[in-house]
Subunit: 488 residues, 2 copies
């Protein structure tokens, strides 16, 4: 099975598609640009959702649900917002089908035209702020800390499974605050939460930073981002948190009576991560034999394979081990399908990325041992059956830690500093990766660099040290380096 | 607060709306027929989802996600299916907006017309069976047991919060089987699962039955249903499970190689429950003072109110009790907001349906007691602070059981047998409720009865005893009674 995967060295893009499709994560659908998330992929997404949802709730947020449709006029209220999304909107214009008068089939009933077209939400700021108008009167109603898990649609012309699809799943937080400072604090707190999730759960190291004005969310005063580096040296924007100022409050006339008894516009944030994270997960850890899933997100963390097939003694030993593992909250699956041989099962679980595989054979059992193989390094170890559960618990923690360490080492090895234009271009062409370089701070220069190299400013890192230098393109003075990369 | 609720005796429909809106469950949105599910409502829906999802997984199902959009031609493949949904479809026809040439605002870009219109899914049989074609080759690929949590859109002309909205949230199971018997078994197993959930979690008694051909799902061979009775004597169809035969497999050409090495069409089921259950929950238990939530689904099962306001000794006692309750997996909230008085808090928690309220005051504490009030019966009891957690755990179980018992008693009291047309009409007009009566088995008679009385056949109950009789309308012979009611 694993042999069907195109090696990264041969065709990285094809490798990615092979992994996503053959390991059972997702597939293309009959609808242009829309994907089917298959059970294995959805189970990993559910692991992500569960953890993120808990982190949102632990920081005081609650979930709610707002309409799928946005009246066209709402989208137009915030000028930059509509500018940002107008070109990729799925528009609902009618509400009924009918039999064609000529009997040729089913057609749209022209009499069912809507008075105002509805846009399938590309993001929900407008419909939500229109609702918040009714929910917020006084400072006592603030802060309002709401999150929504939803599907959204952006009509992308070039799509890639998980990374860029017309419909995707995400969460979008929309919070309302009494002061600018409190809203900025929320924006940054969520950025930290996203970074913690990416590193501790996905084992995907990220750089936290702020976007340049040119790369800001349409309607934001500031967009914060976490940026990860994929195995082909390209960056992946993995989550964004926006400080929206009072823009949406003004557009939808949302004011509150402050403690000084004055009417004031409300301060806003919004923030989201999406099924794009699934693409990041794949491209951070997987290899030419298939998926590698960090144990904390793996639907099954451990699979037990009887060698060569189920037998009473093997089943007993497996059931005992399963009980011990479940007592430790470890998700374990006994693959006792008699129609498949061990070699087939090994390849399948390798392809699907199960972190730990245990082989239980009669001969090993007689010696009181089982064979434990880890997916990430392929190392196999014989371990006493007694105490195997404790060994595995420790092993899962080791794998989680090593995956992060290994991804961080790759990222660090692929992070460069460029001081001249030639150096900048050579690094991008020869190696890719993150490049720290000076920039004169203008959108004009930013766009010129993108035009020449396809590299964009991923962010101005939050922990940037001040450093005097000269812009790599224009030579104009700069007070800090910014982070460049070619990106998804 | 509670006083703002219209009493049921005055205007039942207004009472329902008041409860839903004022207790924080949901509200109308700016988009025709679409609702906003507010945080309190969404938290209850999350409780429902969590339990149902666990029940689906325990019975071998996995989750996946299929596209929001369905190509128009797909919907047309199954003749009855398109017939059933054509009149209520949201149709996407364009994929871009543009600035109006006359500067009047943003309009649909006429050049962005789609080659084939897309329907926002009203249900997903067609897109899913088109996908299953690629997933099923042999009997080894069966059964395929997949569920999806999703939003769907049916363009209803008359909408009511939760009960009938243009967009709603639901789960839809879609399973594929090698034999007719296995598919029917799945259909019935899910019906039992739904009934168990309704009774044990929602404390909402239901009657399990099969729909008449006239009331079947569009494209099904048989539709099974659970029917509940609301406090106004009207029935609520609360969940359906469909045996689809080979209809969708034929429409999308999904065959498999059976064990005898022959190609055969796959057998299908589909089943769903939706946010409509929220309406059922409200109309089964709530009263003129607000929501009543069964403890198993309540976001907060217990609220603690300091009397008259937080103080060190009260806080200590509250924290101790909170720890003890959490050790018992009880969801508890300490309402220590100093800006609100106890009376306001009492009314608010009554309105929002929190099952148990604990009042902790200094004087009671000195005597080692706290006051415990239950939402359902309004009974108050002084209980020793030591051991209060155990008392409350037991109390929550009692409340859950009493709510079911009470709803069952109401349902039984409102269930009648009619043997003549006059009796049938009089019961429906005077009392409403469920009416068991003989029917001659024809759609013609079923429709005539509906025309005359607005009552429909809710189902042919599964546990029906055979009984010879005469149709209440036509006098023709009948071998069993069926269940009539006016319905939502």
């Amino acid at each position: 099975m694993a042999k069907e995967i195109t090696p990264r060295s041969e065709d990285y893009s094809q490798w990615y598609n092979d992994i996503v499709r053959k390991s059972g994560l997702a597939d293309h659908s009959a609808v242009r640009g829309c994907m089917v998330i298959k059970p294995h992929g959805f189970a990993i997404w559910e692991s992500m959702q569960r953890q993120l949802d808990q982190m949102f709730k632990d920081t005081g947020h609650v979930n709610a649900y707002f309409p799928l449709f946005i009246p066209k006029s709402f989208l137009s209220r915030e000028a930059q917002h509509v500018e940002g999304f107008a070109k990729e909107c799925a528009v609902v214009t009618h509400h009924r089908l009918m039999n064609a008068p000529d009997g040729s089939g089913v057609v749209v009933d022209p009499d069912s035209r809507l008075e105002e077209e509805l846009i399938v939400r590309p993001t929900s700021e407008t419909i939500i702020w229109n609702t918040y108008k009714d929910w917020i009167q006084s400072y006592r109603d603030l802060p309002l800390l709401i999150n929504q898990w939803a599907n959204v649609v952006r009509w992308e012309m070039r799509t890639r499974l998980f990374l860029r699809t017309a419909e995707f799943l995400w969460q979008e937080g929309h919070t309302a605050h009494a002061t600018r400072e409190e809203a900025i604090e929320e924006t940054r707190m969520i950025l930290d939460l996203y970074a913690t999730f990416a590193e501790e759960w996905m084992a995907m190291p990220v750089i936290k930073g702020v976007k340049t004005p040119n790369e800001r969310f349409a309607g934001a005063e500031d967009t914060y981002t976490i940026e990860a580096l994929m195995q082909d040296g390209k960056a992946l924007q993995s989550g964004t948190s926006h400080f929206l100022g009072q823009n949406f409050a003004r557009a939808f006339d949302v004011t509150f009576l402050n403690k000084e008894n004055q009417q004031e516009h409300v301060w806003a944030t919004s923030w989201g991560v999406s099924t794009r994270l699934m693409g990041g997960l794949v491209m951070t850890h997987s290899d030419d034999d298939g998926l590698v899933i960090p144990p904390r997100l793996a639907p099954w963390q451990v699979v037990i394979v009887p060698i060569p097939k189920p037998a009473p003694e093997i089943n007993d030993a497996a059931q005992k081990l399963i009980r011990e593992l479940r007592d430790r909250q470890i998700r374990v699956h006994y693959d006792n399908d008699e129609t498949k041989r061990p070699g087939f099962k090994f390849a399948e679980h390798e392809l699907r990325g199960t972190p730990v595989r245990i082989a239980i054979g009669l001969r090993d059992l007689e010696q009181g041992q089982v064979e434990i193989a880890r997916r990430d390094t392929r190392e196999k170890t014989m371990v006493p059956a007694d105490g195997a559960a404790g060994y595995i618990q420790k092993l899962l923690e080791d794998i989680q830690a090593r995956l992060l360490e290994s991804a961080r080492k790759y990222r660090d090895d692929m992070t460069f500093h460029a001081d001249t234009w030639e150096e900048f271009e050579r690094i991008l062409d020869d190696k890719g990766g993150f490049v720290y370089a000076h920039w004169d701070g203008t959108t004009e220069t930013e766009l010129a660099i993108k035009e020449k190299t396809k590299a964009t400013i991923r962010c101005i890192p939050l922990d940037n040290p001040p450093e005097q230098g000269k812009c790599i393109l224009t030579g104009r003075p700069s007070s800090q380096r910014v982070l460049f990369a070619r990106a998804y």
